[in-house]
């Protein structure tokens, strides 16, 4: 047995994988969402910390529960057009899954991992998001987007276990069941991985472009930042602080600190609300120099990883220690300037260019 296939075999047997210890051989047992989180963490993109409960754990729970035949029988001969019947039978299957006895070693592993995540964030019962991450050998994961459940602001290991089971059960939501019947997929070929990820409680958040959106300057990273959640920055109802960082030199070349009249903050009921800010905080910069550079590094890493200019959403998590508190929430390709071809050389030969420079020298401007 080669070393590589040995690793792969071990990976297939793992119940739990931390995103920041992700190895691509584990991809198969993770499902699309978790695999992408693991890949980003592996590429040095600081996603919020967390772990995935693999499809191996799912199979172990399912196969140990002895209900496969019952599920098969429950769904046999289903007519996707009869929505009432689909709904009744899918619920019955979900109840079957909720009744699974989770293998004790898997339950212990999940409780242990949740405690480790809490320790890491210095919180007793850290709030996490528990998200479904389904895998199916026959179809691209994207087709299932939105078919399965996600649970936000889950606190405590009992609640996490409950949410994991619900995610497993959400393989059999009405829509997912109908979809599989329509597409001719087998119900038992799909497997569910579950991602458990720290909920970000941003002290500050915003967006970053890996070019200057004002002029297309590819050497710049432009950061918009405000206090609290990034909602205000994204929607535009807060005038954010704006920072420009030179990518190559890692130098802050421009800073505009705005009066940020309000912020989006988490209430006790886990709802995000708009709160007014006092004049002191409103006009204080929402990022320190070191944090600005950390956001820039994150954006630059995303650009390098994806190979094209990026538009990223980031947050500075107030619950994570310095040095790992700037996290990437989302990255997507920048589309406006990336498509333009920018040329500045104007086709002048070297001497003509020098003559032009002498006629109109660009000044050594102070920043």
């Amino acid at each position: 047995m080669t070393a590589q296939s040995d690793t792969a075999a071990r990976a297939r047997r793992q119940n739990l994988v931390w995103f920041d210890h992700f190895d691509s051989v584990e991809k198969a047992c993770l499902g699309g969402k978790s695999a992408s989180l693991g890949e980003m963490a592996g590429a040095g993109l600081p996603v919020p910390p967390g772990f995935a409960i693999t499809t191996h754990a799912f199979r172990a729970a399912r196969d140990g529960s002895g209900v496969i035949d019952a599920i098969r029988a429950e769904l046999d001969g289903l007519d996707p057009g009869d929505t009432a019947d689909v709904s009744r039978r899918a619920m019955a299957v979900r109840e079957l899954i909720m009744s699974w006895r989770m293998p004790p070693e898997i339950e212990a592993e999940i409780r242990g991992a949740y405690r480790a995540l809490s320790d890491r964030t210095g919180r007793k019962r850290v709030a996490v998001a528990v998200r479904s991450s389904a895998t199916c050998e026959d179809s691209p994961d994207a087709s299932f987007a939105g078919e399965h459940d996600s649970y936000l602001w889950v606190r405590g290991d009992d609640s996490v276990l409950e949410a994991v089971r619900r995610c497993w059960a959400s393989l059999f939501t009405d829509r997912a069941v109908s979809y599989r019947v329509q597409m001719g997929y087998s119900h038992l070929d799909v497997e569910m991985c579950v991602a458990v990820q720290k909920m970000v409680k941003p002290r500050s958040a915003g967006v970053a472009f890996t070019l200057n959106p004002g002029n297309g300057d590819r050497s710049a990273i432009a950061i918009d930042s405000a206090w609290g959640f990034g909602e205000g920055v994204v929607s535009g109802d807060v005038t954010p602080d704006n920072f420009l960082v030179d990518k190559v030199m890692s130098l802050i070349t421009q800073r505009t600190v705005s009066a940020k009249q309000h912020a989006y903050r988490l209430g006790d009921d886990d709802q995000v609300r708009r709160v007014e800010l006092g004049p002191g905080q409103a006009t204080a910069p929402s990022l320190t120099d070191a944090e600005i550079l950390a956001v820039a590094r994150l954006a630059r890493a995303a650009e390098k990883h994806y190979g094209c200019p990026q538009d990223v959403e980031w947050a500075l998590d107030g619950e994570l220690p310095d040095g790992e508190n700037v996290v990437l929430l989302q990255a997507r390709p920048e589309t406006v300037w990336s498509k333009k071809k920018i040329t500045v050389s104007a086709g002048l030969d070297p001497m003509a260019s020098i003559v032009a420079t002498l006629a109109r020298p660009l000044h050594a401007r102070k920043p």
Binding site: N212, N215, G216, D217, R218, S219, A220, L244, D246, K247, V248, M249, L251, I252, T253, Q254, D289, K340, K341, I342, T343, V344, S345, G347, P350, M351, S353, I354, V355, T357, L358, A359, R360, P361, L362, H363, A364, R365, K366, P367
Partner: protein, 604 residues
């Protein structure tokens, strides 16, 4: 904010300096007969090169330098939009004004000449620069060989037996003329390449700013600057000597404070003799190095003030003994430079731009060795020899009873020295007392009083009405003066509310610490570890103190000034060109230097 600086005609003579005008050449003074022209120009003080009052003879070098610069623009390369830079002396300080070509048709007509002439130099740069190195070395040799001896009681017998036919008095006068001619020739050589070099650099600079509008100036400087340049060589020689002292076991000799005692101790052992042999080798030419800019006769040259390099060597020995590695991380500096170039190049939007970037960077790197190295050959090496020769004339005058000290010669204007020499020759040939003894004693005392009065005057950074936008290329290139810096001077002359200063963000980083204000090179021994150096400007010979300071603030200079280059090298924050740093900051005051934004703020 005021919209103009005082007119030169509004400036009054400081009390005690009455009659200062007579100390300088008439053509270098503001005068009513040229007032219309002079009042129409914007004049800025050249604090980069002549931050202090220039003595009458030192003014010669100022005049030779700026005239040579101008001559190359106007008459050699026919720079399309620029004639020369006119120069004046006011209350002992230097003021310059660039003279542009304003008529578009005339600019257009100059272009083909420029293309032909400058183009020839760019294409043949390496060959011409190699030839320049030969010329400049020959010039220094010729200057070194000029005979300057006090007049003898009687001519040596060989003058008779060889049938020479001329005497020592004639030779002395000839030597002075030869020295002045070579000084002017030196400055002709100085500007043979410089303006073209800066033009090529500015072209690359402008391209980078267009492609990457927010690119930090220092990134461009780093892409172009050489790694192993002659500017660093004297400091490298000091480190080499310190290492040799430690490795050969003679370091203990440097425990003595007097250089003579150190030398005496070294002479007692073979290892010590070997060290002295290496010292002699390093001296020529590398320690013909001025502790200032080299533009003042009072700048102390290492080779004649051995306590300076010995002091640096002693510091380096102590640091080596504490286990410090003094070596510059050459490989890392090269790698960083290559990384910066490769990353910006990749970020360009088209292959056409990448080709232009490559071409302009290559030309900048071709021309930059001259820009970086000429300073050692001209201002340090050749000037050291020139000041030495002038002092030899001074000694001859001391012997003849004209002066009490050799440096008194620098209180005479260039045209007055031949008259004094003739006086000496006249009396010597006749065999009587010269008038000089009686004439120059009180005159020199009077002139010293005038210069002291001028030194206490605070010279404004500029005179007259500034242009809307500073576009004159040489003002921007050679003096780093921009529309922004002019506006900044006008603002600062009224004082900022919190006493903060702004300048060029010349080297990144931010730090707080106690200030040490150094006004002259001979004060640099006062700098203590952990202080922030505040100085009018820094000189290459100050390199050894950069290992112990936290940051640097200068009054004058831009991104390519010495302080900027050395601070980037040492990873220290620097803010250059603050105009008023030494005037506003006091030694011991705590300040914050932000080299990312170019600000200096008093704290507490």
């Amino acid at each position: 904010m005021a919209d103009r600086f005082p007119s030169p005609f509004e400036i009054t003579t400081p009390p005690g300096a009455e009659g200062w005008e007579k100390l300088y050449r008439y053509s270098s003074l503001f005068s009513d007969d040229r007032r219309e022209y002079e009042d129409s120009q914007f004049w800025f003080r050249d604090g980069v090169h002549w931050p202090e009052v220039v003595t009458p003879w030192d003014a010669t070098i100022y005049e030779y330098a700026i005239a040579s610069l101008s001559q190359y623009n106007t008459r050699h390369y026919v720079i399309p939009p620029a004639l020369g830079v006119d120069f004046r002396i006011l209350n002992g300080y230097t003021y310059l004004t660039p003279v542009g070509v304003t008529n578009p048709a005339e600019i257009e007509a100059r272009v083909p000449h420029f293309l032909e002439r400058a183009g020839y130099y760019f294409v043949n740069w390496d060959r011409l620069y190699d030839a320049w190195l030969v010329k400049i070395r020959a010039l220094v040799q010729e200057m070194t060989a000029i005979p300057v001896e006090a007049l003898p009681e009687r001519e040596p017998i060989e003058v008779i037996t060889d049938g020479v036919g001329t005497g020592s008095g004639y030779t002395l006068q000839e030597s002075y003329h030869r020295l002045c001619d070579l000084a002017l020739k030196l400055w002709q050589y100085h500007f043979e390449f410089l303006n073209l070099g800066y033009a090529a650099y500015l072209d690359f600079f402008g391209f980078c700013k267009q492609a990457f509008p927010a690119i930090p100036d220092l990134a461009i400087a780093k892409m172009v600057a050489g790694v192993e340049v002659d500017l660093f060589r004297p400091d490298e020689e000091l480190k080499k000597l310190a290492r040799l002292a430690v490795s050969s076991g003679v370091a203990a000799a440097f425990g003595q404070s007097s250089p003579e005692a150190v030398r005496d101790t070294l002479r007692t052992s073979d290892a010590g003799k070997a060290w002295l042999a290496q010292w002699d080798e390093s001296c020529e030419p590398w320690f013909n190095f001025s502790s200032g800019s080299g533009f003042y006769h009072s700048d102390r040259v290492w080779i004649e003030n051995v306590d300076i390099p010995f002091g640096f060597i002693r510091d380096y020995i102590a640091r080596l003994q504490e286990g410090e590695d003094l070596a510059r991380p050459i490989a890392a500096i090269h790698a960083e430079r290559d990384r910066i170039v490769a990353e910006y190049r990749d970020l360009l939007g088209s292959d056409e731009d990448r080709a232009a970037f490559d071409g302009k960077l290559a030309l900048s790197r071709t021309v930059f060795p001259y820009v970086e190295n000429h300073n050692f050959y001209v201002e340090h090496w050749a000037h050291s020899v020139m000041w030495r020769k002038m002092r030899a004339f001074g000694e001859a005058f001391v012997k003849a009873g004209f002066f009490t000290e050799a440096d008194d010669i620098f209180l005479l204007g260039q045209d007055e020295v031949p008259a004094a020499l003739f006086d000496m020759y006249h009396a010597w040939s006749v065999g009587v007392e010269p008038r000089g003894g009686k004439y120059w004693g009180p005159e020199i005392a009077r002139r010293k009083g005038i210069l002291d009065a001028l030194r206490s005057w605070s010279a404004p950074p500029a005179l007259g009405r500034p242009p809307e936008v500073v576009t004159e290329p040489f003002t921007v290139m050679l003096w780093g003066i921009t529309s922004d810096s002019v506006a900044n001077w006008l603002r600062s002359s009224e004082g900022s509310a919190d006493g903060s200063l702004s300048g060029f963000a010349a080297s990144p980083g931010s730090v707080e610490g106690p200030a040490r204000v150094i006004l002259a090179a001979d004060q640099i021994g006062e700098v203590q570890p952990g202080e922030i150096l505040v100085a009018p400007l820094t000189a290459p010979s100050w390199a050894p103190i950069f290992g112990k300071i936290l940051a640097t603030v200068t009054d004058v200079g831009g991104m390519m000034s010495h302080a900027a280059i050395v601070c980037r090298e040492y990873g220290l924050p620097a803010v250059t060109g603050t105009a008023f740093g030494t005037a506003q900051i006091k030694t011991g005051q705590r300040i914050r230097v932000d080299g990312n934004n170019g600000t200096v703020t008093p704290i507490g």
